[in-house]
């Protein structure tokens, strides 16, 4: 394999892996902050136990997000040096600002939060977790400003053989940021909500220790509402984003639907088995007019197909292949949307259960919610694979192709080595992380008691 293919695999592996941890951080930090606020306001010990319990899981996850994020910041220069030279004048700024505004804030105050329980006045200590929440979400804004530039470049001029910034304001008010950031943040909230629901459901099934059960009833109610609000929100903003993408990255959306020909009204594919080289369907089930409706809120309206877009791009950018791999975009898009649909049903069922005070008796719901923890992870990963693969062959849409972005001086053997090192290292760390999350999740809130040791023994051993 050549250095380009290996570098792409490395970016895929390290980025998808990094994004296993980020959404939970983004969403769970609000939950921890809210629970701690509830404790400071009401003084009820249940909220302290819950803060400690979810806080511990938050910390285990956070550490993984931080260390895998370091790779992200260095990797552009290591594997994508031509990209870095070409867009550094624009792209470097949000990355540097992310470190200065967000990384310092979250890392510094997280340290204070972990170690400050006995050293700070209650309210000052509470403020630190809110600052961590602010820091993590600020970090998301700045990295998405950077990513949005790759999807929809703005605020630049082509000069001296590179993209040079000519409006910082345009860069940070890129309309793409306003559809992408809400989608990522609400996706993170949904991830955290299902994480909370799944673990709470597991404890409610076990029914150990009345205090523990009462705490998880509370968590369940919180998680159910959080899940429904976040899932509805992530779908609504996702829909807005898709409509927006129809305009700015029509090829990505055509590939997401395996829409070979321009159609009006355009049908929505439920299932397509296609012949990608020949750009035709082999077998397909479609709903007439639905794609037009999703795109324009109207059952008529032209949606451009891959073939027409290919011809348009050839005229604009010269000869070349401008369609992304359709199988990948089509199925990852369906993975994301499909997982979202199931999440919506489960979240709605959980909220109904809460409203009727019947969730604890609903064995199927509790049983379903445990594996449902995986659903947002599927949606997050497929969503990002979709959006990044869907942009191909471009690394920066319309400006630079991925093939031209790779470091020319790094040998394939070096990239292979780093790919293997990261994959093995990440695999081993994932094992350790899942082991700890499982152990602390099962231990329950009573074991996470503030006076207990942080090296708690599994709950069962204590009773």
């Amino acid at each position: 394999m050549d250095a380009l293919t290996l570098a792409r695999w490395q970016f895929a592996v390290t980025t998808v892996y990094h994004f296993f941890f980020v959404p939970l951080t983004l969403g769970l930090v609000w939950a921890v902050a809210i629970l701690q606020t509830a404790w400071v306001v009401t003084g009820k010990p249940t909220y302290l136990r819950l803060t400690k319990f979810w806080g511990k899981l938050f910390l285990i996850n956070f550490a993984m997000g931080v260390v895998t994020g370091i790779v992200q910041e260095f990797q552009f220069g290591m594997n994508w040096s031509e990209y870095s030279r070409f867009v550094g004048d624009v792209f470097g700024a949000p990355l540097a600002i992310e470190a200065l505004l967000a990384f310092f804030l979250e890392s510094t105050f997280l340290g204070v939060w972990i170690f400050g329980w006995d050293r700070l006045p209650k309210k000052v200590h509470l403020a630190t977790i809110w600052l961590v929440a602010l820091g993590s979400n600020l970090s998301a804004i700045w990295i998405l400003i950077a990513n949005s530039f790759m999807q929809q470049p703005v605020g630049y001029v082509l000069r001296n053989g590179r993209a040079e910034m000519d409006s910082f304001l345009a860069l940070i008010t890129n309309p793409h940021v306003f559809v992408q950031f809400p989608h990522v943040v609400t996706g993170g909230m949904a991830t955290a909500a299902f994480f909370m629901l799944g673990i709470s459901a597991w404890h409610l099934r076990k029914q150990r220790d009345p205090v523990n059960v009462e705490d998880f009833r509370r968590s369940f109610r919180f998680g159910a509402v959080y899940a429904l609000v976040a899932t509805v929100a992530v779908m609504l903003v996702g829909h807005t984003q898709a409509q927006y993408m129809m305009r700015v990255q029509p090829m990505k959306m055509a590939a997401a639907e395996a829409l070979w020909e321009t159609e009006n009204p355009a049908p929505m594919s439920l299932f397509t088995w296609g012949n990608e080289p020949e750009r035709r369907d082999v077998f397909a089930v479609k709903v007439p007019g639905l794609l037009s409706f999703l795109a324009y809120n109207d059952f008529t309206g032209e949606v451009r197909g891959i073939k027409q877009l290919q011809a348009e791009y050839e005229q604009r950018f010269g000869p070349g292949e401008y369609a992304p791999p359709v199988k990948w975009t089509y199925w990852t898009f369906r993975g994301m949307v499909g997982a979202g649909m199931v999440m919506l049903l489960l979240a709605a069922a959980a909220v109904v259960g809460v409203l009727r005070e019947r969730f604890e008796q609903s064995r199927w719901l509790l049983a379903a919610l445990v594996p449902a923890i995986a659903l947002p992870y599927i949606a997050n990963s497929t969503g990002w694979i979709f959006t990044e693969i869907g942009r191909q062959p471009w690394i920066v849409f319309g400006l630079q192709k991925t093939a031209d972005a790779v470091s020319p001086n790094v040998l394939p053997s070096e990239v292979l080595l780093s790919l293997v090192v990261f994959t093995l290292l990440y695999g081993a760390l994932m094992g350790a992380c899942v082991y700890l999350l499982r152990k602390y999740a099962r231990a329950g809130t009573v074991a996470a008691d503030p006076h207990g040791s942080p090296t708690l023994e599994p709950y069962a051993a204590r009773v």
Partner: protein, 339 residues
């Protein structure tokens, strides 16, 4: 040469490196000393907890330095990171296991689990402590960079007597710096052992810094007309190491810590002064060196970034300073241990 925005960003990158070395330097040192100064599990936990609240914030200094280089000098970022590929891979692997180790280590009681993470903390601290010296030494010593700003050497081009001396200096200086920090932040047996470490490694570090300065005179163009002659700064680095030794002798460890900080800062300043206005020296042709002009972003980007930095760097310094104030107390056997 006028002091322009390019120069301002060069200074800012230097400041970020100094901040990183002075702060993360001591937590590297503590990490390296961990398996040797902590005999029991409880002792090791106390050692880790001395840097527990601050190590992550310290590490952000290098992430910000990386980001600043990317934003202000994209070609520097591209050439350095793609050129030092394997060295950076090692460094990244070290930083990854180290960060996770701090958080995971005490969350399970199994002795093998804890021992594994302890050694990962050691390796994850020792490797970057050595490699950062090697890396900075290479910037000044010069590496094979061609006319297209591409690094054309390999991993072993980065290892030569000068850069290894620089690495030895950073490694030993950080260990000493960390041992003094540990002495200031601990009590009882750990405090005593930290003093022993200071007295063992301190003289080696002083010699290494002396060697580094001498090697910089002998093997680089630092004192030629190309960069800014660092003048007394390198001598200050040696002087500060000697002063640190004197303060240790009089049991004034706070002052000793200040002196090792000064020494680390002065050694870093020496390299950056000798570089200026270059950022990476080409060993193939001086005209192919990367400078703060041919590697830089546009004046517009530099202006935007300057405004951001001038507003936020002081804020960061304030709140990070505050955390050091909050956690100024020593870790005693009765302190609640979080890590």
């Amino acid at each position: 040469m006028a002091f322009d925005l390019n120069s301002l960003w060069f200074v800012l990158v230097a400041v970020l490196f100094i901040g990183f070395f002075v702060l993360e330097g001591f937590d590297f040192g503590v990490g390296i000393l961990l398996p040797f100064l902590g005999k029991t599990d409880e002792e090791r936990r106390r050692i880790i907890n001395t840097i527990g609240p601050v190590w992550d914030g310290n590490e952000v200094w290098i992430l910000t330095a990386g980001g600043a280089i990317f934003a202000a000098f994209p070609h520097w970022y591209a050439t350095l990171f793609s050129g030092f590929y394997l060295a950076l891979l090692l460094m990244l692997a070290a930083m990854i296991v180290r960060g996770v180790a701090f958080e995971f280590r005490s969350k399970d009681k199994h002795p093998a689990w804890r021992a594994t993470w302890d050694w990962l903390i050691f390796a994850g601290s020792a490797v970057p402590a050595l490699l950062w010296g090697v890396a900075l030494g290479n910037l000044l010593k010069g590496v094979p960079i061609n006319g297209q700003m591409q690094f054309v050497g390999g991993f072993f081009d980065l290892l030569n007597p000068y850069t290894l001396v620089a690495g030895l200096a950073s490694l030993t200086a950080f260990i000493t710096h960390g041992a003094i920090f540990l002495h200031l932040k601990s009590t009882d047996v750990i405090c005593v052992r930290a003093m022993k470490a200071i007295k063992t490694v301190g003289p080696i570090a002083t010699a290494a810094v002396f060697l580094f300065v001498a090697a910089t005179y002998a093997w680089t163009d630092a004192f030629g007309q190309l960069g800014v002659n660092p003048g007394l700064v390198p001598l200050l680095a040696i002087g500060a190491m000697l002063a640190a030794g004197a303060f240790v002798h009089r049991n004034l460890l706070g002052w000793a810590f200040t002196m090792t900080s000064v020494a680390i800062a002065c050694a870093t300043i020496t390299i950056f002064m000798a570089l200026y206005p270059r950022v990476m020296i080409s060993s193939l042709d001086p005209n192919w060196s990367l400078t703060i002009y041919n590697a830089s972003s546009t004046p517009y980007t530099l202006k935007v970034m300057s405004l951001v930095a001038l507003v936020f760097v002081p804020i960061v310094l304030l709140y990070q300073g505050w955390t050091y104030w909050v956690f100024r107390h020593r870790i005693t056997p009765s302190t609640t241990l979080e890590y």
